[in-house]
Symmetry: C2
DNA sequence: TGTTAGCACTCAACTCGAAGGAGTGCTAAC
DNA sequence: GTTAGCACTCCTTCGAGTTGAGTGCTAACA
């Protein structure tokens, strides 16, 4: 069977109505709601078809219809194609460029959660593809060196390196020059074991000490800080009984604490990004079991210089997709503006 | 009226029983539970007295008794006096000394939450009283300096300082020497505006540029990183209906996300610490409104060099105080061991 | 005087059935 | 193809009745 124009209108009306009220939608409501001027009986026939086709379903025999996952998917797909969403005016917007990335990200998560009334999460941009701008080794004391590495985007990494023997100022200076000339301009991704080995060779036969230090610097660069993810508005899930009834709240709250699980979701969305930067996962489509009754909308953001991160919004399937996507687009562009001048 | 020995035994029996079952305790239960060999009628008389004295209360006329806040307080106080708690064997213990403080703290929170089955939080040790070990300014590029400050305990702070004019290598070297000779050995707390002003004077009439840089270094030192607090096991609160019924879960989950509120609680417990390092807040005693139906147990820990932080456990009032306090004591000593050798 | 048995009473929790109502599917007529 | 009408379904709500745990009080007992 085909989804003819009238069925589409009815389907959309059902979904819109359900998004607003959260209650199953009956045929009489649709009959009044739309300007199709059809009786409820006719609508009933159409709705029976739509149910057979899998777009809507009945919680029980004598109830109205609610959208199925397939129905939501249809709605999201056609909506996204149909019109470019307008930007949304954000309330309590207070995004300023921050010294600390962390502060900014927490702010963004908060603004998003407050504006949408869903749970929000945000991942720190990966710096793997950022270029090393500056490396410095300093002697803290005879047993410890301090390595400071600055990459584009002013992300700073520190590492304290324990050393077996003291190192002379001269050697330290040489080492600093060597590291900077050889590594500056490379991305963290590019600095692999081969390059480290080559470095060691160039450092000459200064003995194992230098080798150790170079290894430690390499480690510091590669060190994959576990995925930094910040969340906000977790308690917004309590606004939606379908997410919290039957003790499901516990599972969801737990998931929001397990940053690793959220990380996998964000990873997935980065990989699957078709270019629009926005993706919608409905129910089982998200790779996290505890979110099977949720919808997740993710957006890739960019903070200049190719630093990409992801914002995610988690809410009930009857989420206000328009508003959420609008909010995310707005945030995307604000962040873009904020860091354009760099 | 006095709390005679028999009343104490009965009160403890009521509390113990309620901690185990979570159900109001009736007189017949006590009559069998204790070896007082008293009939339920006698117990009823005693319980009526205890209620009048405020140690227990009835949810409704025909129900058993549950402990009041005052009752819990009595229980905790006498228990804590009576015996030194034994340490508790921790399950899934995996505490290793970590390069990153953050990783360790998250681990501790997780271990505590898993072992107690309550919600746990931990604050990063304050470094205000730690001494500055090392300061270094480096030139990133003509417009930016990088300030790196290392304090005892190997805590590293970074700051990028924008400068109006380029600075010569010579001046930078001088500045570094000045900063290190003047500030090393002082605690972050001690470095106030007066000292900064004195520094500026010593730097001479090098003009406003140097002054600005010194100010920025001062700011970097004082910069109060907002209280780093990590939580784990938030979803454990769902194990206790009295915390989650009537939509109270939302408020609690929200509180666990608002690190600032948790910070005030931790601050309060640091200030009130009588020396034992362990404190119990029952109901309203904690300074956070949303925790009025909870008990909070806090413990101060120390990571060598006077770096003190706080661990907190939040659960229902009918918390297994013995186990919780034992767990915290165990953690305290493990952390102490872990960092003793520094 | 303290303890106990006995009894009437209270009140939350559970069960059950009836009533109400929203909504459907089907049929027959337009 | 559309619609009015009607029987049917099934969730929800409500009140009544029942149950059972537990109490407070009284009177008797050691």
């Amino acid at each position: 069977m085909e989804l003819d124009e009238r069925k589409k209108i009815i389907l959309k009306a059902v979904i819109r109505n359900y998004l607003e009220t959260g209650e199953p939608v009956g045929s009489r409501t649709i009959s009044k709601y739309t300007d199709l001027n059809l009786s409820s009986a006719t609508i009933r026939n159409e709705m029976a078809d739509l149910e057979e086709m899998g777009y809507i379903l009945q919680p029980h025999t004598s109830a109205g219809r609610i959208p199925s996952d397939q129905g939501y998917r249809f709605y999201v797909d056609t909506m996204m194609e149909e019109k470019d969403r307008e930007f949304v005016e954000l309330k309590e917007m207070l995004l300023e460029r921050q010294d600390k990335m962390e502060t900014l990200l927490k702010q963004v998560a908060k603004v998003v959660a407050q504006n949408t009334q869903y749970a929000a999460m945000i991942s720190a941009p990966s710096t793997h593809r950022n270029k090393v701008k500056f490396i410095q080794l300093s002697r803290l004391n005879p047993e410890q060196l301090l390595a400071v590495i600055v990459v584009e985007g002013n992300v700073i990494k520190n590492n304290i390196i324990p050393i077996a023997d003291d190192i002379s100022d001269e050697n330290l200076l040489k080492l600093n020059i060597l590291l900077n000339t050889q590594l500056n301009g490379l991305t963290m991704e590019e600095i692999n074991l081969g390059i480290i080995a080559a470095l060691k060779q160039q450092a000459g036969v200064h003995g194992s000490l230098i080798g150790e230090v170079i290894d430690a610097v390499g480690d510091a660069i590669k060190a994959d800080d576990d995925p930094e993810i910040y969340t906000s508005g977790t308690n917004n899930i309590f606004r939606y009984p379908e997410l919290t009834d039957n003790g499901r709240a516990s599972e969801l709250v737990g998931t929001f604490e397990e940053k690793q699980q959220l990380g996998s979701l964000i990873q997935e969305s980065l990989e699957a990004d078709p270019g629009t930067g926005i993706q919608v996962y409905i129910g089982d489509e998200a790779p996290i079991k505890s979110m099977k009754d949720c919808s997740v909308v993710t957006a890739t953001y960019e903070l200049g210089e190719g630093m990409k991160g992801t914002i995610g919004i988690v809410g009930p399937k009857r989420m206000d997709y328009d508003k959420v996507i609008g909010t995310l687009r707005t945030i995307q562009s604000k962040l873009d503006e904020l860091y354009k001048k760099e």
